[in-house]
C-alpha cells in the first residue's frame, strides 16, 4: 500500500504522525547505539592506543579518546538514519510513487549548523590548548640532543655534555640513550634529503631538513625501557631500515655511560 | 515513458538553425576560455614568485644570492620597453577595430606582433648572456637566485612565444578577411596580450628588486 505522496491527503495514519513515529524510533536507536558505542570504545581503547611514556603522549592519547567519544554519536547519527531509511523505506523493485517532498526548515538548518559549529569550536579550543601546552620553551635543565639524519641512519650528539675535544658520541654517534624523568629536546637536521625523525613512545615527531634545523617539543620520558626511532618520510632506497633503538635508563646509568665516554654528567 | 518536463517548441534565443551558435554565445565562450586560461597561467606565475620570494627570505645557509648574480639592468629594461610598446600598438589597433574593422589600422597590429617577436628575441639573448657559468663538474651549478632568474626568464620566453604564435594566427585571419563581424577576437586576444605585457613587467620588477 503506498504512502500518501502529498502532505494532507488521506491514506492511513496522517503523515505527520507517521513522521514522528519514524523519527522517534530512529532517535531512540541512535541514542542506544551511541551509548553502546561509547561504552565499547572506553573498554577497548587501552588496546588500541599508542604506547607512550611522556605527558605529551598521554595528552595526545586523551585527545584521541575524547575525540572518538564525541565522534561516535556523530557517526551513529549518519549510520542509523541511513540504515533505517534503507531498511524501512525500501520498495520492492521499481517504486510506483514518489517519496514525501521534505525540505529542511529554518529550524533544521540553524540547528544543524549550530551543532556542527559548536562541535567544531570544541575541537578547536581543545586543539589550541594542546598546541599551547606544546610550545613551552626549553628550561635550563633540558637535555639537548642533536640529531643528524642521513641516508639511511641517525646519529646523535649531546652538545651540552661536551668534553674537551668534542661532543659526546658513542658507537659512531648511532646510540641514543636518555635518562628517565629528565626533560629532553631534539634538534634535528639532515645531511642530504628530507627525513622524518619520530619516536612514537615519546610522542615526538619532526622533519629533518637539509640546510635547516628543526626542534621537537620538550618531552620527559617517565618510564625506563627500550623504544624505537623510525624515519617517517620516504627518503630513498633503505627508508624502511632507517630505524634504531632509544634506551631510556636511570639517571645513574645514564651518567655512568656519559662519564665513560669522557663527558660531563647531568646534575 | 519519460516524465521529464520538456517543452520542445520554440528554439532557444541563442540558437537559430538549432546547430550554429549565435555570435553572442561565441563571444561569451571565447572570453570565458581565455580568462580561465589566464587564471591558470597567473597561478603558475604566482607560484613562481611566491617560491622565489620565500627562497630569498629563507636564505638557506646564506647562499641565496651573491651580488654578481644580478643581471645587467640595461638589456632587461630594453626588453621590457619593447614589450610595453608592443602592448600600446595592440591597444591602438584594437581601438581602431571597434565598430568598423577597417584595414587601415592593420600596420599597428603588425607592429605589435613584430615587437612581441622582437621582445622574444631579446629575452632569449638576455637569457644566453646572463653570464651564469656552469662549471663542468659542479652539481648543482647555479645558486637559488640564479635558479629563479633562469626560471622566470624561461617562463617569460614561453609567454612571448605563445603570444607570437597567437599573433601570427590572428595575422592569418586579417589577411583572409576573417576578422570582420567578430569583434570579440581582437578583444579576447587583447586580454592575453596585455596580460603577457603585465606579467613580463612584474617578473622583471621581481628580478630587479629581490
Amino acid at each position: 500500500m503506498s504512502e500518501a505522496t502529498i502532505p494532507g491527503s488521506a491514506g492511513g495514519a496522517s503523515p505527520a504522525r507517521r513522521e514522528s513515529h519514524h523519527l522517534r524510533r530512529a532517535v531512540i536507536l541512535w541514542v542506544v547505539l551511541s551509548i553502546v558505542g561509547i561504552a565499547v570504545w572506553l573498554l577497548v581503547d587501552q588496546f588500541v592506543l599508542p604506547t607512550t611514556v611522556t605527558d605529551t603522549g598521554e595528552f595526545a592519547n586523551t585527545t584521541l579518546v575524547v575525540f572518538t567519544t564525541l565522534a561516535i554519536p556523530v557517526a551513529m547519527f549518519v549510520w542509523v538514519f541511513l540504515i533505517y531509511s534503507l531498511s524501512v523505506f525500501k520498495t520492492r523493485g521499481r517504486p510506483t510513487g514518489d517519496g514525501v517532498p521534505l525540505q529542511p526548515g529554518t529550524g533544521v538548518q540553524v540547528g544543524w549548523l549550530g551543532i556542527t559549529s559548536l562541535l567544531c569550536l570544541f575541537l578547536l579550543i581543545w586543539g589550541m590548548v594542546g598546541l599551547y601546552q606544546e610550545t613551552n620553551a626549553a628550561s635550563s635543565d633540558t637535555l639537548i640532543v642533536n640529531v643528524t639524519a642521513q641516508q639511511w641512519l641517525w646519529t646523535f650528539e649531546y652538545p651540552g655534555l661536551e668534553k674537551p675535544g668534542g661532543p659526546v658520541v658513542a658507537n659512531q654517534g648511532q646510540q641514543l640513550n636518555l635518562p628517565v624523568n629528565v626533560p629532553v629536546q631534539f634538534v634535528v637536521t639532515s645531511k642530504d634529503v628530507l627525513h622524518g625523525f619520530s619516536i612514537q613512545a615519546l610522542a615526538v615527531r619532526v622533519d629533518a631538513n637539509p640546510g635547516e634545523t628543526t626542534t621537537t617539543q620538550v618531552v620527559t620520558p617517565k618510564q625506563i625501557g627500550q623504544y624505537k626511532v623510525v624515519c617517517v618520510e620516504l627518503c630513498g632506497l633503505y627508508h624502511t631500515y632507517m630505524w634504531t633503538s632509544v634506551n631510556v635508563m636511570s639517571k645513574a646509568d645514564f651518567n655512568a655511560w656519559v662519564t665513560s665516554l669522557g663527558g660531563n654528567p647531568i646534575p | 515513458m519519460s516524465d521529464i518536463t520538456i517543452t520542445s517548441t520554440e528554439p532557444t534565443p541563442h540558437d537559430e538553425s538549432g546547430h550554429e551558435l549565435s555570435p553572442r554565445i561565441k563571444a561569451a565562450r571565447a572570453r570565458s576560455g581565455v580568462l580561465l586560461f589566464m587564471l591558470s597561467d597567473f597561478m603558475m606565475l604566482a607560484s613562481m614568485l611566491a617560491a622565489g620570494g620565500w627562497l630569498s627570505a629563507l636564505n638557506v645557509l646564506g647562499m641565496f644570492k651573491v651580488d654578481t648574480d644580478q643581471p645587467a639592468f640595461g638589456p632587461g629594461l630594453l626588453a621590457i620597453l619593447v614589450l610595453v610598446f608592443s602592448g600600446l600598438c595592440y591597444f591602438v589597433w584594437q581601438q581602431g577595430m571597434r565598430g568598423s574593422g577597417k584595414e587601415g589600422q592593420t600596420p599597428f597590429f603588425l607592429l605589435a606582433l613584430l615587437l612581441i617577436i622582437g621582445a622574444l628575441a631579446m629575452q632569449i639573448w638576455v637569457w644566453l648572456n646572463l653570464g651564469y657559468i656552469t662549471p663542468p663538474d659542479a652539481f648543482p651549478a647555479y645558486d637559488a637566485f640564479q635558479s629563479v632568474v633562469l626560471l622566470l626568464t624561461g617562463f617569460e620566453s614561453v609567454h612571448l612565444l605563445v603570444t607570437s604564435l597567437v599573433g601570427i594566427l590572428v595575422l592569418g585571419r586579417i589577411m583572409n578577411g576573417r576578422l570582420a563581424g567578430r569583434d570579440y577576437i581582437p578583444q579576447v586576444v587583447g586580454y592575453w596580450w596585455y596580460y603577457t605585457v603585465i606579467a613580463g613587467v612584474v617578473m622583471w620588477l621581481f628580478i630587479v628588486l629581490v
Binding site: H22, T56, G57, T63, L64, V78, L82, L86, F89, T91, G93, P95, T96, G97, D98, G99, P101, T116, L123, L124, G127, M128, V188, Q200, V204, R205, T215, V230, L234, G236, T240, W243 | M1, I4, I6, T7, P11, P13, H19, A28, R29, S32, G33, L36, F37, L39, M44, S47, M48, L55, L61, M63, K65, F139, P140, A144, L150, L151, L169, G172
Partner: protein, 635 residues
Amino acid sequence: MSTIATPVKRQNLLQLLFPSVVSGIILGVIGAAVCAFIVAHVVTPPTPDTLDYAQDATIVAAYLGWTIFFFIGIGAFNGVWKWGFGRRDETHAEELQLAGKDQGLWRYFRYTTDHKVVGMQYLATVLLTFFLGSMGAFMIRLQQSQPGALFFTTSTYNTIVGMHGILMIISTIVMVSGPFGNFILPIMIGARDMAFPRLNALSYWLFFSLIPVFLSALFLGGFPTGWTGYAPLADQTGPGMDAYAFTIMLFALSTAIAALNIVTTVITLRTKGMTWGRLPIFVWGVVLSVLLGLTAFPAFFVSEIMVMMDRVFQTSFFISSLGGSNWVYEHLFWFMGHPEVYVIALPSLAVAAELASVFARKPMYGYRLMVSGLIGISVLSFIVWGHHLFTSGSTTALDGPFMLDTELISIPTGVVFLVIVGTLWRGRIWVTVPLLFIVGLLVNFVIGGITGIYLADVPTDEILHGGMFVTAHFHFTLVGSMVFGFMAAFYYWFPKMLGKKLDPFLGKLHFWLFEIGFVGTFMALFYAGLKGEARWQASVPVEFATPNLIASLFAILIAASVFVFIYNVVITLVRGERAQANEWGAKTLEWAVPTPVPLENFEELPVVTSGAYDYGEPEPEEAAVGAPAQAQAEG
C-alpha cells in the same frame, strides 16, 4: 533536418588511419627518437663531465619530442592552423565529420570532438589506469603481508608504491569528470556539445599521451620518492624521476584545458530555462571540482618544472648548499595537494546527492544548502594545506590557523551529509547497485572524515603524521568514499552510455566484496598506524606483522571484487539485456534523449521549466508535451 550542402564521402581505411592514434604514435615515437638523438649527440654529448645531467636532458628531450609529434600525428594542429589560415569557417558537415559521423568504432581512435566519444575514451582509459593502479595495490599488500622484503626488492617496492600512488591519483581526479563530465554533463544542461569541442579532444589525448611517458619509468629504474615526488630526493635520484615529472606536467595541462572547457560550457551553453538554480547538482559538483583543479594544479606544475630544472640545468631550487629549500617544494606541492583531494571528492559527493534523489524518488533535501556546502568546501580547501606540514618545521607560526581552517571544513561537509541523508529519509527507496555504492560512500566517509579531524589536530598529528593511520585515513576518503562514488556513477550511467544493463546480482556481489574487503584492510591499517608503523615500509617491522597480514587477507576480497566487476562489464557488453532510455525513471535531461544518444544530442534544444528533483510535487499548470501527469498518482 539536413544542413549538409555538400555530401561527405565515407572515408576509406587510409583516411581513417591518418590522422588517428596510430599515426600519432608512429610520429610520436619517431619524434622522441629524433629529439633524443639531437640532444644526446649535439647539445649535451655525454662526457664524464656532463654525464650527470646529459641523461636527464636526453630523456626530457625524448618526452618533448613524443608529445609534440604525437599531436602533429593525430591531427591536433590541423584545427589551429585552420583557425588562422583557413579561407573559410568549417561547414556544419565538416564539423560533424570531426565529431566522428559515419566512422563507426574508429571514431574512438581518432581526434574526435564529439563529447560522447571523448567521454567513452576517458572511461576506457580511466578503467585501464585504475586496473594498473590496483595491481600495484595488490603487490603492496603482498609485500606487506610478511616482514622482510620477501617478494620485491626494496628498490622495486618503492617504485611500486610511487606508481600505485600516481596512477590512482590520476585516475581518481579524472574518474567522474572525465567520463561523465564529458558524456553526460552537456546533455544534462541541454547542449549539443562542449563549448570547445577540439579542446575536449585535446584534453583527452593529453591524458592518453602521458601513459607511455609514465610507464617508461619502469624502464628507467623507477623512482623512489613515492607519489609526492619530494625534492631533494627527486633531484638526486635516477632517470625514472624525469618520467614522473613530465607525466605531471602533461596531466596538469590536460586537466587545465578540460577545466576551462567544462566551466565555459556550463556558463555559456545552458539551454533556455536551465538557470543556475535549476542546474543538476552533478553539474555543480563537476564545475566546482574543475575550477579547484584549474587554480591549484599550476603550483604542482611549477614544482615539477623546478625539479626538472634542477635535474637538467643544474639549478638549486631544492639544494640547500646553494640556497635551495625543500620547504619550497613541500608548500608548492601541498598548495596543490589539498585542493586536489576536493577535486576528487566534489564530483563523487555530487553524484551521491544526485542519486539519492533519484532512488528515493524525493526532492533533494535542501538543494541550495547542498550547493552552499559544496562551495564552502571549495573555498576552504585553499587555506588548509599546511596541515600536511605540521611536522615539517616550516609552519610553526601558522599551525594554529591551519588547524582552525581544516576543522572548519567539517561544517560544510556536515551540510553535505545532512542533505543526502535527509533526501533518503522517508523516501520510496529503490535499493539498486548505484544506491548501494552511495550508501557505502556515506558509511565510509564518516570514518574517513572523522579520522581526518584527528590528523587536523596538531597534538595528535604529532603521533600520527607519516604513519599508516594517515594512509588508512586517505584511503577511507579517496577510495572508500570517492571511488565508491565513481562506481555508483558507473552503474548508474552505464545504461545510457552503453545501452545495456549491468547484471544487478554481480553488481551487489561487487559491492559487498569491495566494502567488506576495504573496511577490513584499512581498519587493520588504522590499528597499525596507531601502534606506530611508519609509511612506505618495504619490510614491515615484526611488531606490526599481524595487522598487516590481516589487511592483506582482506585485500584478497577487494581483488575478487575487481574481477567480479570486470566479468560483469564484459559479460554485459557481450550479451547483456538492452536498457531502457530512462532506465531509472530519473528527471535530468540525459534520460529524456534516446539510447544510444544521437550525434548532437537533441533534435530541437529543450526548454526547461522546472528543476530535476521535483518528485512528489504537484504538476505545474502548463502540461508538458508528451509527459504524463504523475505527481498525483498513487501506487
